[in-house]
Symmetry: C4
Subunit: 196 residues, 4 copies
């Protein structure tokens, strides 16, 4: 699994440059990220399991209808986190190393992922025109997207991933779209955030 084991095997300070984690030290960043993402994506089901243990004579159909929004929130969280994981996976499939700053950005990204179930549930439970719920949801996604883009730029700047083929502005598109949605959710709280 680890590709290179030399004397000082898994880090290097290139000239006066920053420390770069490689080999198993890089794998560890990736696998730690996967563990956090896996837990975040799975925990969402736990309250539904607790609810299902407490049927009190209801039928399974009533349980599904009573918990429709909770089921939708769990599914939505799963899909969003899965999309983030795929992007992260695609980024690190190319990476040959990671700087200390990339690790910091990665931890901030993981904080967003771990926190994500909270704004999702708030969005589902609150009134449709609750602008704080909208802002929290879109804001968390926005921070996660920006963090991942910054991590990608950091890796590219140190030659640790191959440069993107497209124009640099392309990678900011998603962030800009989210920022716009963020502003709009304050301006028009009754606007439906679900398409996101």
């Amino acid at each position: 699994m680890s590709e290179d084991h030399s004397a000082a095997p898994q880090t290097e300070g290139r000239g006066g440059g920053p420390t770069v984690f490689r080999g198993t030290a890089l794998d560890r960043i990736v696998f730690f990220s996967d563990a956090v993402v896996a837990i975040a994506i799975t925990l969402v089901v736990l309250p539904l399991v607790d609810g299902a243990r407490d049927l009190e004579g209801r039928t399974a159909a009533q349980f599904v209808s009573d918990n429709g929004w909770q089921l939708a929130a769990a599914a939505l969280t799963f899909v969003v986190v899965a999309v983030f994981w795929r992007t992260h996976h695609a980024l690190f499939a190319h990476a040959t190393g990671a700087t200390s700053r990339a690790v910091s950005l990665n931890l901030l990204w993981l904080a967003c992922i771990a926190f994500f179930p909270v704004p999702t549930v708030l969005l589902v439970d609150a009134d449709g025109d609750d602008r704080v719920a909208h802002a929290l949801y879109i804001g968390t996604m926005l921070v996660a997207v920006v963090t991942l883009v910054l991590e990608s730029i950091e890796l590219e700047r140190h030659g640790l991933v191959p440069p993107d083929d497209g124009p640099p502005v392309a990678r900011w598109t998603a962030s800009i779209a989210f920022a716009l949605a963020f502003v709009l959710s304050f301006a028009f709280p009754s606007w439906n955030a679900w398409p996101l």
Copy 2:
């Protein structure tokens, strides 16, 4: 993100073919799956731990008898998820790479695994003739089986696993059996799903 860059060590676009994840990028798909499965298989015990903290003067024997069905549901979930894990493990023990579509199918499979405790608990708690509970339980298993079969076909179609020796129809047998059980559980809700 351009995943077919030639300098990338862990992906390749073969000719005009799809991106193929190899090496650590393949390992990561597998270990991420394991983390999700490990959490799903372990979380099932948590409500029992909560219950055991709340004995209120009951003996351990009374706790076991009061929670007999919950213990059975936990054991059943453990066995079913373990069987799915073994099948997944056997498939990827042969795999030399994974396409983007295989990753999508894998994420859908993981969603089924993570969701599985909910229909299991519903099946245990609901009345024996609750056809929605039966359908949810068998339906979740059916989607998980079909997803894994499709993932296996996708890998084989791109030469990423050795071809099966048996006739292709054999691999559909389990799916067909589950589909049949699915239909039957609607037709005859009093039919006992436990042998599954």
Copy 3:
């Protein structure tokens, strides 16, 4: 699924012998085990966190004194599971492969580890002379020990770990000790199981 295909890189059927998982397929068994053990060892603290959120004006000292047994149960579970993990780690540090039967035994061992918090909490909460609580606790440990010994024998029998230096009967010592404790806990329920 034919697991003995000659083109498969990570399995092999030696002569007429059983399929042997090697390389990444072996790593995966180990890392999956680690994920389950890590979750089981960590989840034990969760109810204490819930309790600490519900102080209702009590001081931290009162919380600690009210939850003394729960804290002891969490610590005990951590220690016991950690000892099991070390034994498992030592066994697989030597292993060069795993048979299908070893995987089955490993899954049974993981079921014991995942279940272990339940009998621990029952032992702590029930009366000191609750023989079912004693039997459940010692029985779960007994099954876990026997399973790990059988897994060790299975690996050794196929030349996948180096043979033990000591006499074969030595490895059964712990199992026999536990079996004795199991019988005794039924005969003399007031006997204190804590030294275990």
Copy 4:
């Protein structure tokens, strides 16, 4: 179990020295640690998710204001555990092996990490002058820091990490600072521990 068998590929007893875990056996210690840390860092959000499911007509803004301290506690735990993980990651990025004693120290460190949410929540919930809450919080951090320093010394003493460049006393600075804070938190309970 004899861990110094010469045929074992992933351990070695150097001369009369202790068993040293290398290769996959070393990786496993690291990945097991990551799994425990990942769970501890993620579980902290779970009670907030439960709370968010129980809005009872409150707005998202009210939820955030009602749970301000809980959100702060979750964020604080995330940051502290993330800092510990980075230190652990930096230590093992250099490590070429681990002794049995290092594994013991590592398990004690993991116990602190897993336990950490409990004193964090107590510190947030208890009165500002609750000296037991202060002592538990700082004490847990102190044990975690000392354990990690001892693990680092153990690895260095066996030549498994490159020697530190700075003077040996430097590594004790943090521990001494924490010890001081520990004593002070008893002496002046009204002193604010938050800067830590």
